[in-house]
């Protein structure tokens, strides 16, 4: 009996591209989508840049019934889910309702919706607060709305581990599939681009005050000054390799081969941060060694101390300068619960096409970081196995090992037994 669990569908909503094809074209060519915030006037705030999705029209994709009751992050997540299903060739209406589950990542919930309701409360009174506020802000709302829209009554859940959430949700999806749920929708989509969300994020003191879109978010660079936030993410369809083969799935993007998660030591505790151990746990789970890995998709905090910790973990586990390391989120900003989910989708597309997308804007890599950062231009190399890293504020570390389907794109055959 195979325990292999694979990804068979992707739905991408990113600042530099809606849909898999447009996103991948933009990402391979290193298209920057970071710019001055346009959704509200950022001039009175110390941070003014973001990766915004500017071409998403909810009413073009969703029934009007859903629009008044959903935050933008949920609208994006629902559309990404529709696209992921279409990509996977699964028609959810034809699958038994208890055979499908949903696990998404969340970071802060539907901030923009909540802000509008606070405005109503403050300026017009409690009777003006929408009944939909009861769920539209909530961490689990994307999971709930995805499950309702697609008639999915299998296990549902939400992982709240800030920017590590996309990897933790994927791992939970794999667990559910192994325990017997045939298909699980996973991933994460966030949209924290309103003043209330902005001031909440500012408290982390990790956002870049730089107002130059080409110089604000520079992970592993000597001039790293923090990160730029963004909106969007990705949704993935996860199922057993065996089931994908049996139903003749249009493609298998790759196998979820390994996963590891750790917590950092508490404040004031002098001990090594947990990232290296998360990578090693993931490699052991995949039953491979570091030498089997062809590329790393880094967390790329853009904060000096955190970059150093990550560079050290990568160089220690994989060897100094041995394999390419990249941070494609330099094009979109950090997407909170959508960030690691989008990195997973990017890594799966990289496996499929044999291309490591670039880290953009970084020009002066910190010389004591012994990693081979893919700067400026994409690199074409054969990829069989990649590692995705993610960290969440508060001490969350996670690593996922993704392995290519052995017979290449379009195969419907067994991935691994």
């Amino acid at each position: 009996v195979t325990k292999s669990v694979v990804v068979t569908g992707l739905g991408i909503v990113a600042p530099n591209g809606l849909g898999v094809d447009r996103y991948w074209t933009a990402t391979q060519s290193g298209r920057n989508s970071i710019r001055r915030v346009s959704r509200f006037d950022p001039s009175s705030y110390p941070v003014q840049l973001a990766g915004e999705i500017t071409d998403f029209v909810p009413a073009a994709h969703l029934p009007s019934r859903l629009l008044p009751q959903t935050d933008r992050m949920t609208q994006l997540a629902l559309v990404a889910t529709d696209w992921a299903f279409a990509d996977s060739g699964v028609e959810p209406g034809l699958v038994p309702t208890f055979d499908m589950g949903v696990v998404t990542a969340s970071a802060s919930g539907g901030f923009e919706f909540g802000q509008h309701q606070l405005e109503n409360l403050w300026s017009r009174g409690p009777q003006e607060v929408s009944a939909y506020q009861s769920f539209a802000w909530f961490y689990a709302v994307n999971t709930g709305q995805i499950s309702i829209r697609n008639g999915m009554r299998g296990p549902g859940g939400v992982l709240v581990t800030e920017q590590a959430g996309g990897l933790d949700a994927l791992a939970q999806a794999r667990r559910l599939v192994r325990r017997g749920t045939p298909l699980v929708v996973t991933g994460g989509v966030d949209s924290p681009l309103c003043p209330w969300a902005w001031v909440a994020q500012l408290t982390s003191r990790r956002m870049s005050p730089c107002d130059d879109p080409t110089a604000a978010y520079l992970p592993f660079d000597v001039n790293a000054s923090g990160f730029v936030p963004g909106e969007g993410g990705a949704i993935l369809i996860v199922e057993r390799a065996e089931d994908a083969r049996r139903r003749g799935a249009p493609q298998v993007y790759g196998e979820i081969a390994g996963y590891g998660a750790t917590f950092d030591p508490g404040p004031g505790v002098r001990a090594e941060p947990g990232l290296r151990r998360a990578v090693e746990i993931a490699l052991a789970d995949a039953e491979i060694t570091a030498m089997d890995v062809d590329a790393v998709f880094a967390d790329g905090a853009g904060v000096g101390e955190l970059d150093r910790i990550e560079a050290e973990a990568i160089a220690t586990v994989f060897g100094p300068h041995r394999i390419p390391v990249t941070v494609p989120k330099t094009m979109t900003g950090r997407l909170y619960s959508g960030g690691a989910a989008l990195d997973l989708a990017t890594a799966l597309l990289a496996l499929r096409h044999g291309v490591v997308p670039p880290t953009i804007n970084v020009t002066d890599q910190q010389p004591n970081y012994h990693i081979d950062l893919v700067i400026g231009r994409a690199r074409e190399i054969p990829l069989h196995c990649v590692v995705v890293l993610a960290r969440g504020h508060g001490g969350f570390n996670a690593a996922v090992v993704l392995r290519a389907a052995p017979h290449g794109p379009g195969n419907g055959r067994s991935v691994r037994t």
Binding site: P63, L66, L67, P68, Q69, A131, Y132
Partner: protein
């Protein structure tokens, strides 16, 4: 309140029904069959209360099953009578 006024409120607060548009044909179709759930009915009721400055019972979700029944409840409230 006219049926058209009520339909405009429903449309604004809860959107169009599942698989169609709101019109005179939907007056006797159960909210459930139109795809409106209990929270959507609460939102619709709140919009009505604000629009014409009346108070509707919290039981409105349990008591009304169709747009026509909702209209009757509104008319009763406007007339100052207890609803049904």
């Amino acid at each position: 309140m006219t049926p058209d006024d009520l339909i405009a409120i429903i449309r604004a607060s809860a959107g169009e029904p599942e698989g169609g548009a709101l019109d005179g044909e939907n007056m006797d179709v159960a909210f459930d069959d139109l795809g409106y759930d209990s929270i959507q009915l609460l939102e619709i009721a709140a919009h009505i209360e604000r629009k014409i400055d009346i108070a509707l019972s919290d039981n409105i979700v349990a008591e009304t099953r169709t747009i026509r029944e909702l209209l009757l409840v509104i008319d009763a409230a406007v007339a100052g009578r207890p609803a049904r």
